[in-house]
Symmetry: C2
Subunit: 150 residues, 2 copies
DNA sequence: ATAAATAAAGACAAGTATATCCTTTTATCT
DNA sequence: AGATAAAAGGATATACTTGTCTTTATTTAT
């Protein structure tokens, strides 16, 4: 469905939204540990997310790290996918034809049409902030470790 | 969304269902040309589809080629995905967690739940035959060439 | 039986994604 | 100013996917 890059990018962004802030920036080691991802690879992906401050903000040096601005929190999840070059999932044809359109539909287009719309809406109407909020309040998980019992 | 292998497998299978039969077996060169796919690579994929006659049937030698049995025509599209080892799309978590379940939901699970069900149904309720029929009667396309004008 | 056609199988090449490590830059603190 | 902490950037390694080519096995037709 999504590439590893996209998966890590989404998990990392959600974690940063949940635990970080301007005065509590998160280090790459903490992030990678929290979301069960390979640290150095995740660092590379963060570079894509921070390019031009598009999604994630960062500062170097002591007490540096990653955080999200208020504006970034309002971005749709799709922004994360775009940052890692993975938004094909909401644009491409299931059968891999160059174009997906009503005027040139593939055999699965009819069946897929509505699903594609819903995928699109899921990634465009859901904001980073709303995902983080859900995660904060619930029993939602963002890594592969066992859920802690109370 | 899907791998190239899966895309070619689906396009090839649909084409064979549409144009082939026991007494009109299709050669790999014809198939690859028809669906705009690299011939040798497609041949490899056909080997996966014909393993144990799971989806596609084949015979070698003069007048040999690929075709579908009546039983195969009734298979769900999912069978093609399984043959190429690509059915993760209907089983895995969007965020790449090891498990996708109600008891251990990721932050996107709630939003994705219904889409996942629909994807599953699309691949399980649609048969190879029904796709071929749609393709046969309509203006549906299965390659990247321009649609012929009448 | 021999020849020819065709898929199957195997070996390899190229490209892309994933992962790790090392060096450089920048910011902070003393 | 100097030391230190942290991300950014670059170089490299590994694995997987995609694509090509050659050889082998099998079937059919002559
Ligand atoms: S043309 Fe294939 S999904 Fe739209
Ligand atoms: S747990 Fe992530 S989609 Fe179900």
């Amino acid at each position: 469905m999504l590439s590893k890059s996209a998966e890590y990018a989404l998990r990392a962004t959600i974690y940063i939204a949940l635990k970080g802030s301007v005065d509590n920036k998160l280090g790459i080691d903490e992030i990678a540990t929290a979301i069960d991802s390979p640290q150095y690879f995740t660092a590379k992906i963060m570079q894509l997310l921070t390019k031009n401050n598009r999604v994630v903000s960062s500062v170097r040096g002591p007490n540096g790290g990653f955080y999200l601005t208020d504006a970034a929190r309002k971005l749709p999840v799709r922004a994360v996918l775009e940052a890692v070059g993975e938004d094909g999932i909401i644009t491409k044809c299931v059968l891999g034809l160059k174009e997906c359109s009503e005027s040139r539909p593939c055999p699965m287009h009819e069946q897929y049409r509505s699903i594609k719309v819903q995928l699109k809406q899921m990634f465009e109407k859901t904001t980073i902030q709303s995902l983080a909020e859900e995660t904060g309040k619930g029993k939602l998980v963002i890594n592969n470790r066992l859920v802690k019992k109370k």
